[in-house]
């Protein structure tokens, strides 16, 4: 969303917190946290102008470690709680954040409905292809064959294709980046924030504890930037986007896969906001007694 509040001069310092992180050394979540901060600084969004709603998981603890409005909620439900907050206070920049289990596993239903509604929020998925906080079970994005305590012979199901799914579900901005490249990640997040409508960022993330193979080097060799390899790529074309999303050369394209600026957002179409665009929490609660009498009169 494009926040309507005035931009502030903010620096990384404004986001600094004294809270000690509990992430493992080398966890990709550090890079993602950095990227989020950088994106906010670059977009001129102050800590009090943003609301980061997260689920439960390692990555969902992110709002605990920076100085920012946050709400650390339930596993899988950040997606819908964030939209509730957004609809009631449309002036906050709402960012939903959660792990791959949180977002694509238990929470996928909410996510898909948010997408088709074009809810004006950003959803960042900290996608480490594993359940971190519960100690390393396979996740909906895990590769086939991935061996974990709940898939001792290797996972026998196909992982979710987040990009293709988002495209088909109607997301109007689909981006992907990598925790090990905070600069790129920050830029994608900022673009997502500045997009009017629903934006998903599939943020590939290293988990050195439970997904040892997919370390920073591995990702560096298994990712490429769309803009570099495909200079003619048109993110407005859904068919191209689908082809790219379905392409299975084992590598992950990074960048903006898809962008559609033509769909109205959900909140801007809401009747009450069409009459008065201030957030509903700023509307007066006072009852017009005549109006109230007229409501009662319908029952006589």
């Amino acid at each position: 969303m494009v926040i309507t509040q005035e931009r502030t001069q903010v620096t990384a310092k404004d986001f600094r917190s004294t809270q000690k992180s509990t992430w493992c050394p080398g966890c990709g979540d550090f890079g993602i946290m950095n990227a989020v901060q950088t994106a906010l600084v670059n977009a001129g969004v102050a800590p009090w102008q943003v609301l980061i709603v997260s689920g439960i998981g390692c990555g969902s603890k992110l709002p605990d470690y920076i100085n920012v409005n946050g709400y650390m909620t339930l596993h899988g439900r950040g997606a819908t709680i964030g939209c509730g907050a957004h609809l009631a206070n449309t002036s906050l920049q709402t960012i939903i954040i959660g792990g791959d289990g949180d977002s694509f596993g238990i929470g996928i239903g909410h996510m898909i409905h948010n997408m088709r509604r074009n809810m004006d929020v950003v959803h960042i998925v900290e996608n480490n292809e594993v359940y971190g906080l519960t100690k390393g079970q396979y996740s909906p994005t895990s590769k086939r064959g991935f061996k974990t305590s709940t898939s001792p012979e290797g996972a026998i199901e196909f992982g979710i294709n987040p990009l293709a799914l988002a495209l088909s579900a109607g997301a109007t901005f689909i981006g992907r980046s990598f925790s090990g490249d905070p600069k790129h990640a920050a830029s994608i997040i900022q673009q997502a924030m500045e997009h009017k409508g629903y934006a998903i960022v599939d943020m590939l993330q290293t988990c050195p504890t439970y997904n040892k193979l997919q370390n920073v080097d591995w990702y560096k060799s298994q990712t490429y930037k769309i803009e570099e390899e495909r200079p003619n790529y048109d993110p407005k074309d859904p068919v191209q986007a689908f082809q790219l999303a379905m392409e299975d050369d084992g590598r992950y394209p990074l960048g903006v896969l898809f962008k559609n600026d033509d769909r109205p957002t959900y909140s801007e179409q809401i009747p009450v906001y069409q009459k008065d665009s201030r957030p509903i929490i700023e509307h007066s609660l006072e009852l017009d007694s005549q109006f109230f009498e007229s409501l009662k009169e319908t029952y006589v």
């Binding site: 650390m72 509730g84 906050l92 006589v300």
Partner: protein, 601 residues
């Protein structure tokens, strides 16, 4: 107390054939004519077809339940007439059974009419409907007109209501319907009035005509709106849907955000998200949807977000009896969600109490920053009753302890706003996110005063105590049970929520019958959690013999009562077939218990 004069009418028919709306229309007619009314539509879990009926009771005094027996049974549609044997058996001796004259009644039907000593009235519904209205469907209107006519109610009232109802359609359609109604009316007053040997209740137009005819769900919605609710997310589920639909229907006019969401998890979660940033928010559902909300209640509990959830109970378990009434979610609601946190449960028993519950729920939620559950049921949700406009007052909106933007502005550089500050009463002053001085991030993990996650044992103890203290504070706000009926009664009915209506009628029925030497009264609970222990104990001191009446199998309220006070009623009455208990059933049980205890004494 003088005996009430009651006349009861039943309109039977297949669903989708107008028995429901017809009954509602009649209720309005009689109310405007100055009679107190009580009405409910008994329908099946299907859209068209089946066998359903509207039950309407008219009285010269306020009335809170239908009677067991009816003075008039009308059967609307030709097909369904053949399924009315059961309905005929609910006729009073001398009552009228009104059907279309072109129908070839099955022998059982006539036999049933004879058996109960009722009168069979065949009237030209279809004929008049077709001839005057040009449409078979208008047969219904003929029948309604006939009922109005035979009861001696002025035609203008019916005329106005028919005209109002069809105003949205064309003038022509409205006129046709009025004409058809008139034909029915004339037929009724000319041919049926003389057959109707019951005296109609005394009407009081001045007092009653201007009253509202509102059901419990509408009243909860209106109360919630009046108390400042401006965000409503929900997923349809009978009988909870209509609270939501009150908001959606006029959302633009009301100035509210409503969201029909993908499931009940989203319903409660979106409301919590909205409430977290400062909206007064709610959702409504029934038991099955409530199941999906209980994790959300814990979220609201630990992050101390005010939120209102309506659980309109229906026959369970599981899908159960979707369109029938029950009070079997009480212990589930009170104990809902894992772990322990403050939660408030209201259980209004009249439409006026529903309005008040709507108001109080939002105010209590804000005051104690905690979820509030309104436990209602299909009977409460759906029944119509005349209700005084004054009861729908403009309430105070209690925002609870808030830290305003101005107060935040004044905070010094080093003063940190503490969202979960430890306080005497457990309630921390609440500042909204969106101000430079109120930046915070609450967690559903155990947290410290700022909201940051911590596992520290002593913080845990303090934080648990802070949150649980809210229950101790809130209990002072909870209404105790109220007696209705004479003091010093020989027997007290113990009821909660919607069973109040039938119990009240039972009290009046029993006490006004001179054959009964003893007197009974009732004790009604409308707010059940935190349990008002002291007020209950005081009230119970005045109880001699007691009998509980609950619409469930396991006497859930009595379990709660015993757990909290040790008290056990002398007899437990349970009804669990999804049909509301009648005053007459209660009176029979009272008589049994009184005679048993006489023997025992």
């Amino acid at each position: 107390m003088a005996q009430k004069n009651k006349i009861s009418i039943k309109i039977a028919g297949a669903q989708g054939q107008g028995a429901g709306s017809g009954g509602q229309g009649l209720a309005k007619v009689f109310k405007r004519a100055g009679l107190h009314v009580f009405g409910i539509f008994d329908y099946m879990s299907l859209i068209k077809g089946g066998h359903s009926f509207f039950q309407l009771t008219l009285s010269d005094q306020e009335i809170n339940a239908n009677t067991e027996k009816f003075h008039i049974v009308v059967s609307f549609d030709p097909q369904n007439v053949q399924e009315t044997v059961g309905d005929i058996h609910t006729l009073q001796e001398g009552g009228l059974f009104i059907v279309d004259d072109s129908i070839n009644l099955k022998p059982e039907i006539e036999a049933a009419v004879n058996e109960v000593g009722a009168k069979l009235c065949k009237i030209p519904m279809i004929k008049l409907g077709t001839e005057i209205g040009g449409n078979k469907i208008m047969a219904n209107t003929v029948a309604l007109g006939a009922v109005v006519g035979l009861t001696g109610t002025p035609f203008e009232i019916l005329e106005n209501i028919v005209a109002e109802n069809f105003a949205k359609k064309s003038k022509e359609i409205a006129d046709k319907n009025v004409a058809v109604a008139k034909a029915g009316f004339d037929f009724g007053s000319q041919n049926l009035k003389s057959e109707f040997n019951f005296s109609m209740p005394q009407s009081n137009k001045d007092k009653v005509a201007g009253k509202m005819l509102i059901n419990g769900n509408e009243a909860i919605a209106m109360g919630s709106y009046a108390a400042g609710c401006r965000f409503f997310s929900a997923y349809p589920m009978t009988p909870g849907t209509s609270v939501f639909e009150w908001f959606t229907k006029d959302n633009a006019k009301l100035g509210v955000v409503t969201k029909h969401v993908e499931d009940e998890i989203a319903a409660v979660c979106m409301a919590i998200g909205a409430a977290q940033v400062g909206a007064r928010a709610m959702t409504s559902t029934s038991g099955g949807g409530f199941c999906l909300m209980v994790e959300g209640l814990g979220l609201a509990g630990i992050t101390e977000v005010p939120i209102v959830v309506v659980d309109a109970q229906r026959g369970g378990p599981s899908t159960g009896l979707p369109t029938r009434t029950e009070q079997a979610d009480l212990l589930f609601a009170v104990n809902s969600s894992h772990g322990e946190f403050a939660k408030i449960v209201l259980a209004p028993g009249t439409v006026e109490q529903c309005y008040e519950a709507g108001v109080r729920a939002h105010n209590l939620a804000a005051k104690y920053q905690t979820p509030v559950i309104i436990l209602t049921d299909l009977l409460m949700a759906d029944h119509l009753k005349d209700s005084s406009k004054e009861d729908y007052y403009i309430p105070e909106v209690d925002l609870g302890k808030v830290v305003s933007k101005e107060e935040l502005d004044k905070l010094g550089e080093d003063e940190k706003y503490l969202r979960f500050k430890f306080t005497e009463d457990g309630v921390s002053p609440r500042a909204l996110q969106g101000h430079p001085k109120s930046v915070h991030a609450p967690a559903t993990d155990e947290h410290d005063e700022t909201g940051h996650i911590t596992e520290d044992a002593s913080n845990r103890l303090q934080m648990m105590e802070k949150r649980m203290k809210k229950l101790e504070s809130a209990v002072n706000d909870i209404k105790g049970p109220e007696f209705h009926g004479p003091e010093n009664a020989d027997l007290t009915l113990i009821v909660w929520g919607s069973t109040y209506g039938a119990a009240l009628e039972a009290v009046q029925l029993f006490n006004s019958d001179e054959a009964n030497k003893q007197k009974i009264n009732l004790l009604h609970f409308t707010e059940v959690w935190p349990f008002p222990v002291k007020l209950t104990e005081e009230a119970l001191k005045k109880v001699k013999l007691s009998m509980s009446v609950e619409q469930n199998y396991t006497s859930q309220f009595c379990k709660l009562l015993r757990a909290e006070t040790g008290y056990v009623p002398n007899k437990l009455i349970n009804k669990y077939d999804g049909r509301q208990i009648t005053p007459e059933e209660i009176v029979r049980e009272v008589q049994k218990l009184l005679s048993e205890s006489l023997v025992a004494a």
